[in-house]
Symmetry: C2
Subunit: 221 residues, 2 copies
DNA sequence: TCAAAAGTGTTTATCGTACACCCATGC
DNA sequence: GCATGGGTGTACGATAAACACTTTTGA
């Protein structure tokens, strides 16, 4: 509105990627090399280019820094505290991503390390990423209850127990098996594939898939 | 992350302010004078200063452009389509505000007009403000159902019918009076003031106030 | 005395919750 | 044959929904 005065605010994107791995909710972090945050961990992120949307930035950076692609992504919130970056004024349009635990992580020489961390045991984080983590977890729990988003945390085919475990781990509750199945099947979100998962020392489980692998609002829990 | 390349993205804020007025949900718009949007309407907004948060920007601009202050405000979403502003790359951290219908609007010579518009009959809007309006309305409906946010749309003291009308108008439904009262009173969100609103040609209504005039999450409808 | 909105309970249907045993497989 | 997780139905309590008349005031 006042084109005469020059603004010096950098626009960046940071992405919180979740997966369920080893019966824990985990987030992907990269370990930083550059000062002043050397050794600290952070969510993958970086600057927005002039000719890309923040969503495009998030997708590009995830691929560059972690090798992850083809992932559920949505905008989380914009973080804009004035001193959130020690070096300059940076506002971050944080995004929120979910993926099934079947990805291969790429390591980049730009970072000391890239790995999944259980959200209950996160290391010290750079910038305001602790706050971002908290908001992302809140969003995830809420999404899980009011949408079919669980599809993005599971492979194409999964068992009802897999699905139930996702809910129990993330919402940090236990659910009665019969009631869970009754409810999920009544919602008509998933369909049996007609195959069973065998090879284990127990009765083989029926495989299901989600009818639609895209966000739909449904009251689930 | 790459401090060498210069970014030229402007960061702005736009605020959607709602009120309930004349039995309609209304949003506040300003009519623009400047090209290339002359005559079009838009939500109040402007650039973020280097040393202010987007929330501070929103508060400052609302006061400057409309005279409105002391208002419920939350971040809505960041809008970042590359061509959302014809003149330059501007990303807008949109915010969402609610106020009771008792404000006096100030007119500014920077704009042709400032007024409340029923959301069902919005005029042609500048930028991507039509999209912003849609998201804001969705957010409002959702907030009304899962939080006590209605306090921010009502004066300090109100009747149960006033409150019910807010719900009916915004959610575009009708509600049974007895069931509505039973539910609201059971939630323990409001308390009777001990006064009645008289002066009308009917039985005077008991006045209530919200226990807490701040956001609380409660399943209401 | 009439019009207009305030205020008030009960019954019924629906949904959510609690709960325990048999089944199919690999070792 | 035994250990392991898979799969299934019913009864009860709680909550939500439907529904109509009396009260108080101003004109």
């Amino acid at each position: 509105m006042s084109p005469s005065t020059k603004q010096s605010i950098v626009v960046a994107v940071d992405t919180v990627i979740f997966t369920v791995k080893d019966d824990q909710l985990c987030a992907l972090l990269i370990q930083m090399k550059k000062k002043p945050y050397t050794g600290l961990w952070a969510f993958p992120g970086g600057r927005v280019e002039d000719a890309e949307t923040t969503e495009q930035t998030a997708i590009r950076i995830l691929k560059e820094q972690t090798g992850v692609s083809n992932i559920y992504l949505e905008q989380l919130k914009t973080f804009d505290a004035i001193d959130r970056d020690q070096l300059e004024r940076v506002i971050s349009v944080a995004s929120f991503a979910l993926i099934s635990d079947t990805v291969q992580l790429k390591t980049s020489d730009k970072y000391a390390d890239v790995k999944w961390w259980p959200v209950k045991k996160l290391p010290e984080l750079a910038y305001d990423h602790k706050i971002i983590a908290k908001e992302a977890i809140t969003r995830l729990k809420s999404r899980l209850q009011y949408t079919n988003i669980a599809w993005s945390l599971l492979p194409d085919e999964f068992t009802l127990t897999d699905l139930q475990r996702v809910y129990e781990i993330i919402l940090d509750t236990t659910v009665d098996k019969r009631n869970f199945r009754k409810r999920i099947l009544a919602l008509d979100l998933i369909v049996p594939v007609g195959k069973k998962r065998g090879g284990e020392a127990n009765r083989p489980a029926e495989l299901y898939k989600f009818k639609h692998r895209k966000l739909e609002y449904v009251e689930i829990m």
